[in-house]
Amino acid sequence: MKKNLYILLACAVVLASCSDKIYEEINTDFTKAETINPAFQLSYAELQIFGDMNYVDVHRLYTYAFTQHLMGCWNTTNYGGQHRMDDNEMARPWNNLYTAAFRNLTDAIAHTDGDKEQVNVNAALRIFRVYVGSLLTDYYGDVPYTEAGLGHLTGVSQPKYDTQEELYRLFFKELKAAAGQFDVTAKAIDSDPMFNGDIEAWRKFANSLRLRYAMRLSGFYEKDPASDIAVLAKSEFLDALKAGVMTSSADDACVHHDKVSYSFGQESYKDFRGNALSKYFYGNDPANNPSYVCQTFWEKLYNNHDPRTTLLCGFYIDDFMSISTGEGRLDVTDAVLATQAANPDKDIISTVAPGEFSWDNWPTYPNISGSALDSRMQEIKVTHDFDPAKDPRWLKPKLANNLLRSQNPGVIMTYAEVCFLRAEAAAGLLGWETGDIAQEWYEEGIRAAIYFLTDNYNYDYVLDSDIAAYLAEPTIKWGVTPEQQKSQINTQAWILHFHNPAEAWANQRRSDIPVLTPPDPAGKNPLVDGNAIPVRLCYPLKEETYSLDAYQAAKDRVAGDYSWHARLWWDVK
């Protein structure tokens, strides 16, 4: 026994001799920091929205199919086009936004709250968190926000799901408070790929977001202008205008992305520098999987002689496309368009209808001797020793080459959108007392939307006369009835929002414009999970395991059966 006592004594001596300080030093990771400049986290969050391939893939898989901007590539048609629910794919915004942008914004806000020096970055962080929250709620409905992203701060691991109504009310308050917090005398935001630290731009962005969110609730106003929420929507809109919104394209909230090489290797999923949406337009198997434009989008542009038609779309033979850049495509746009124009009775241009794969409706080569197309084809046969008539799927419009550049901006909000919001607010159905003239803002919006393309996508300026001609098109010309006006404004917004797919889908669901026809359920490709176009994404199934009570409560709040056909709260009909 005595021996054991000695042993125990020896134990005590040895263990006590290794001091806690040395231990703490050993247990400190010398490759990681304990604190960080919150602006770095803001940069990270801003870049994720268009830079994170994991999240952005949801647009290719679902969003663009539901908005009918794109169709035909395997990913788009198989999931969104065929209404195929896939838990993994639907979970992309959920799994990626919460654990990256949302987490870092929440963390940085917590570390700058109450710090007088950091009021500017704190305000920007809060504004951006509202934006990220709005993306989430507009995908899924009720979502965690007030208790979300707090894992390491308060230890909440199963946050409650805030209702969408609570969230929108909160968004207005947060944006107003944050916009009022900027202070030129405090520390500047020293890392900010969106506004480069310009606090005036941040303030206008916050107010413009209030316009967007107020308009999101306009369905309540159209239904019953006296309702509590309708009154809120209107007063927020008017208040935001007064506070100062974006006034020119210089105020555009666009995140700067870098020119990077296209890669789909594992580390490129961690690399937010390039525009991931452009990468997906380019495609990860480019020669076989280019971004075919959906028939709906093509017709809205082409049939109305939109000067943006060839800025957004083109006809390309991709057999010689470089597999590491977007170079080397044979551009046959002019020949196709000229030949179609010369032969209005023939369907030379083939398009991908909703629900179709690019190979479902195989075009035939229109052998018209003497046509522009024919001479171009002869030329290609000679220059490339290749017969393009064999697989004439290049007769289907694809996205224009300039949209495939990784340095294209990540579009969060633009002046053009503000114009359309102001136009709709002033127009007949709402008639809010903004002091604006709806038509002016509508036309200004179209101009701004065209300039947005030429400013950001390396195009020559569109002639004023071309814009004027477009504005005079019968379907574009400012309409007479309030319904017509709303339709025109939101159709223009839908074209504009091609670059901002999340907003495109939200605004289309809110306005139901343009009216989209779902694919034929008895068509070639069966609609797997319901015939109507889905109006939300479903919560990830894993929530059932990890946050059952909160998840169940949110599902139970949905009227009727919970599915992706259940409308969101603001989606008032």
Binding site: K3, Y6, C11, V14, D20, Y23, I26, N27, T28, D29, T31, A33, E34, I36, N37, Q41, S43, L47, D87, T99, R103, N104, T106, D107, P144, G149, G151, H152, S157, Q158, P159, N196, H256, V260, S261, Y262, S263, F264, G265, Q266, E267, K270, F272, R273, N284, D285, N288, N289, I323, S324, P521, A522, N531, L541, K542, E543, E544, T545, Y546, S547
Partner: protein
């Protein structure tokens, strides 16, 4: 190798010559008895010859021998005797061998002890069992040898790692592998990389660098009681490796050569392939033959038809037999070991050099390993010194990519269409050396020839292991022992993708540098004494363990200069750094008391202080007690029936810490450089926890060990019960918390089971003996609890079908879960009333379990004169496996089962088009289709809204649509029972008798063996793939694109001077 063969041939010639010689001899007779009477079956041998006999029922023998010869008498359990022939009658009385009864095993801290004194089970594997039929990773050789020890290789092949599990999973997350201790120093068994959800490479583990020729014994300490002295690192059991010392024979010098040459070929083949339909989709092929290359949903194969492929060649549209198998080559493994040993009484030196080379069955893939080991031991007065230095260099070229990796050759071949000859793909590059577009640049089906020829991966490992031990024998009862061990492990892996590789279009190079350092020092005092009937041993010691790893990963993308593969050739370069530092300081002690060699009592205690836990929570002490009762000592009269019997009982608790840096939040800058702004974020996806407590594993174990019938039969039985509580778990959490995981103390996991080991010498005659050993174990690995509000923890996930493997409360660990086919109350599959396709549940169900119900091994040895035949079988029963390979076979129309409904559907579609019907809804109407509507009918029911009843499904579908749907939405149809019986090893050895060797005794031993590893699979349930083909060592029932596994046959040659 050529010289080796020549030597073998000489020896065979020698053998043939010698057997022709006959001797005329004198007869010697006699009786062999022991204290109780005649011994039946005792063997009598003329020393130095192969002449021998055994005693009959009365103990009598007769043998030819000359006066002056020596006779050797031996019998199991008795001491052998050598008696010179001085007359024609020799009677012998044999005495029981106390050595046999006091079998010595190596236990914790390298202390050798009587097996009978142990209160817990220790399994043992002899080094000699591992040196003939060699595995490139010695851990694989353990499969089937010890009850409760489960070994699984991966699809990674020769250079891959091995998963070794003792008594099930004790930690929900973590690697669960045992601790390896080499001559008293723990080894770094880091697995530098393994394939995960997105695929990857298996970069091997530490144990693979151990040379089997250096192993004397491997002791398997299964339970916490056996391992308690090793502390937290031993909570999954310990495997003690004792290496060989210099020979202590008569001669000063000895030289040994041991060589093995094996040919490696494919064991499992991908042959469940339909032989009717060819490349294409919807019953048609594409004219351009570059799409649907990995689909076999095309028209019927037709030799008369030719298609023009990407290479501009016309090839017939016919079924290609053995298409996948033809890609692989015959592999070759050569291991050559030379041992030089010197011994001058008190000093011994042993030097080993081993050169292992392997050329894999995967073309262009090879590895080599060189091991140098020097061990020196000496005594200076009362001080014993023992030093070992080991250097291992390993070089691996082109490890196979595994799982869902874009470069997984197996995966890319197994879906290649039935009519697409893989040989056409040898045309993998264009004139400019760029990727030849053969399938529309599909990044998920990369040309395998491109991957093995143009892309490269390579690893180098330099491992230094140093080990020194000083024992100071102060007085006979007391010694003090100091052990210092260090390991420096540098590993470099570089992975290059040539520009234009689909998925890596701009090219990519990733160099990972692992710099691992481990240092271990230990001081131990051992006191042994005897007082009357009591034996007493006590130890006390202290240990410091330090690990310091630093990893740097350099990645280059966008290859600007293609002429040289170096990071500088890339436009975009990034660096990622990671560290792992930890220290554990421990003190420990043990006391053992024995009474009359019959009753033994052990107690141990250990205290650890770990740097990975917060101060105040990082000191943990845990005890163990065990007892053993040799009851056979009481029943001495029955020695022939039951010469040895022991009961044992033990209880132990072990604590365990966690990885470093888990206590607080950290931040890092993005590895990518930017201009004008900086990207930084919270590091990792785990909520840290400063309040972690150590994990506690408590166990008890009981059992018996017996030997029967003069030691010819042995039977051991063990029952154990082990619960690990307060586990440090990375608990998966809702991402809405901002994190995918949070680190908590929670959960309880049970491991309870039986182990039975049976050994016997069934036949023993003059020239022949037959040994049979069987082990069997059953483990119940149940998840008792997780944490509040959570009933499931995801452990691994696969890319397809939303399938994942989890720990579910109340279920066996390793549930395979996912959406299931929706069924009505009668169990019928519910189909969609509009599409005729099956529907699926929206919640995840348990569809299988990845744990074995029971495992076992059978080894047998037949000896006839100088020939020995051994066979080893490995049995595993009851686990399930989700085979993504099978899933792919169905999705792509390659499986035979996908033939159903095809001809009917194509005929129906033809008729529909001929009739000009465009709407399927229209075509379904009987009055339109005139009975021509046909296809695949899903066996199921749909809900008829009008009548409010279930109606039998009547919508025909395209079988391609059906299989596409079920192979995308639910794993249910692709979960297979993964039971198997494998023959792991076969050896037929010829040991040359001494009389054949040279008279001077210069050559001491010559042996030649035919050896085979994994020669055949006796039985398995899953077709096409090897049941051991999981892509990583988590062992969690997920398989994808596994290459064919390897079987090897060859020769082993051993000569000793």
């Amino acid at each position: 190798m050529i010289s080796e063969f020549r030597r073998v041939l000489c020896l065979i010639a020698l053998f043939l010559g010698v057997t022709g010689i006959a001797f005329a001899q004198n007869m010697v007779t006699g009786t062999v008895v022991d204290a109780d009477g005649p011994l039946i079956g005792a063997s009598v041998l003329v020393k130095g010859t192969t002449r021998g006999t055994i005693t009959d029922f009365d103990g009598n023998y007769s043998i030819e021998a000359n006066i002056g010869d020596e006779l050797e008498f031996s019998y199991m359990g008795y001491s052998a005797q050598t008696i010179p022939v001085t007359s024609n009658t020799i009677d012998v009385t044999m005495h029981e061998d106390t050595e046999v009864l006091s079998e010595v095993v190596v236990t914790a801290m390298g202390i050798k002890r009587d097996r009978k004194a142990l209160g817990y089970e220790v399994g043992e594997v002899k080094g000699e069992d591992l040196t003939k039929a060699k595995e490139t990773n010695v851990a694989n050789s353990l499969a089937g040898r010890v009850a409760g020890l489960v070994v699984q290789g991966t699809a990674g092949g020769a250079s891959g790692s091995t998963r070794v599990m003792l008594r099930g999973t004790t930690e929900m997350t973590g690697n669960n592998q045992p601790l390896y201790v080499i001559d008293g120093v723990p080894m770094d068994n880091t697995n530098y990389g393994s394939a995960g959800t997105e695929g990857g490479y298996d970069l091997g583990d530490g144990i693979s660098s151990i040379n089997p020729d250096d192993i004397e014994t491997m002791s398997v300490l299964k339970g916490p009681a056996a391992a308690a002295l090793y502390g937290s690192r031993a909570s999954h059991g310990v495997i003690l490796i004792t290496t060989k010392k210099a020979d202590t024979g008569d001669s000063k010098w000895s030289v040994e050569y041991n060589g093995t040459l094996t040919f490696d070929s494919q064991l499992s083949k991908w042959d469940n392939v339909q032989q009717v339909y060819g490349m294409g989709s919807e019953g048609m092929y594409n004219i351009d033959a570059v799409s649907n290359t990995n689909k076999s949903w095309g028209p019927k194969a037709d030799e008369g038809l030719t298609l023009r492929y990407f290479d501009g060649q016309e090839h017939p549209f016919k079924i290609i037999p053995n298409n996948t198998a033809n890609f692989f080559e015959l592999g070759l493994t050569a291991t050559n070991t030379a041992v030089v040993s010197m011994n001058t009484g008190r000093t011994g030196i042993r030097f080993t050099y081993t050169d292992m080379r392997n050329k894999d069955i995967l073309p262009n893939s090879n590895m080599s390993r060189n091991t140098l080991n020097l061990r020196a031991n000496t005594s200076i007065g009362p001080v014993d010194l023992d030093f070992t230095v080991n250097y291992t260099h390993e070089d691996v070229k082109n490890r196979p990519a595994l799982g869902d990796d874009k470069s997984n050759v197996g995966k890319n071949l197994m879906t290649l269409s039935t009519t697409y000859d893989q040989q056409w793909l040898k045309n993998y590059q264009t004139a400019d050396g760029e990727y030849q577009n053969w399938n529309g640049m599909d990044p998920y089906n990369v040309n395998p020839y491109w991957d093995i020829n143009k892309n490269k991966n390579q690893s180098y490992k330099d491992l230094f292991r140093m080990n020194g031990k000083i024992v100071y024998n102060i007085i006979p009862q007391l010694k003090i022992q100091a052990t210092v061990g260090a390991e420096l492990n540098r590993f470099q892996f570089s992975d290059f993708k040539y520009p234009t590789t689909p998925g890596y279009e701009s090219g990519r190079l990733q160099n990972s540098f692992f710099n691992n350092r481990m240092f271990n020092a230990e001081l131990l005092a051992i006191y042994t004494d005897t007082w009357g009937d009591f034996d007493f041993t006590a130890t006390a010691g202290a240990n410091i363990y330090n690990v310091n790893n630093h990893t740097t990963v350099n990645t280059g993308t966008d290859m600007g200069m293609r002429e040289i593969v170096t990071i500088a050739s890339f436009q975009d370069q990034s660096v990622e750094e990671n560290a792992y530092k930890k220290r554990i300081v421990s003190v420990f002690g043990s006391a053992n008391l024995g009474w009359r060699h019959m009753l033994y009592l052990d107690a141990t205690v250990r205290g650890d202080k770990s740097s990975s836990l917060a101060s105040g929570k990082n000191l943990y002490v845990y005890p163990s007690v065990s007892a053993s009762w040799v009851f056979s000592e009481l029943i001495k009269s029955n020695r022939k029936v039951l010469p040895y019997g022991k009961l044992r009982l033990s209880w132990a608790e072990v604590g365990s810490d966690t990885d470093p840096y888990q206590l607080g939040l950290r931040y890092s800058k993005s590895q990518f450089g930017t201009s004008g702004y900086t990207i930084g974020s919270v590091y990792g996806n785990l909520v840290p926890n400063p309040d972690l407590r150590p994990t506690r594993t408590r166990s008890w174990e009981t059992g018996f060990e017996t030997k029967w019938c003069n030691h010819r039969i042995s039977l051991d039985f063990t029952f154990y019960h082990q619960t690990s509580r307060d586990q440090i778990i990375a608990m998966a959490t809702s991402p809405t918390s901002g994190y995918d995981y949070r680190l908590i103390n929670a959960g309880a996991i049970l491991n309870q089971g039986f182990e039975i080991t049976f050994g016997s010498r069934i036949v023993q005659t003059k020239d022949f003996s037959w040994d049979l050993n069987i082990n069997w174990s059953k483990n119940n690995n149940k998840v008792l609890a997780l944490t509040e509000g959570t009933t499931e923890l995801e452990l691994a996930k696969a890319t397809w079908c939303n399938v994942y493997v989890s720990a579910r409360e109340g279920e066996q660990y390793g549930s395979i879960c996912g959406p299931a086919l929706a069924r009505n109350a009668d169990g019928r599959v519910i189909v969609d009333a509009n599409t005729g396709l099956p529907t699926f549940t929206t919640e995840n169900k348990v569809l299988g379990n990845a744990q074995w119900d029971w495992t076992g091994g059978l080894s047998t040895t037949l000896r006839w004169r100088m020939l020995t035949l051994t066979a080893l079988f490995d049995v595993k029963v009851g686990a399930d496996l989700f085979s993504m390979s099978e899933r792919a076979a169905f999705e792509t129309g390659k499986a035979k089962e996908t033939l159903a409904g095809r001809a009917e559907w194509y005929a129906s579609e033809e008729a529909r088009k001929a009739a000009g019907v465009t709407s399927m809804a229209e075509w379904r109407k009987a009055e339109v289709n005139q009975g021509q509507y046909n296809g695949y009918l899903v066996d199921g029911v749909y809900w008829d809204k009008a009548s409010g009843t279930w109606k039998e499904n009547n919508i025909y579908v395209n079988p391609e649509d059906y299989w596409y749907e079920v192979s995308r939405k639910s794993p249910e149809m692709f979960i297979y029972d993964n039971s198997y019986i494998k023959c792991r090893e076969l050896t037929l050895s010829l040991d040359f008798p001494k009389e054949w060797l040279d008279k001077k005794g210069i050559v001491k031993h010559v042996g030649i063996s035919f050896v085979a590893r994994n020669p055949f699979i006796v039985w398995k349930n899953i077709k096409d793939i090897d049941p051991d083909a999981q892509y990583n060592t988590s062992g969690l029932g997920l398989e994808y694109g596994s290459l064919p596994s390897r079987r090897s046959y060859g020769l082993n040659f051993n000569i000793k001077f």
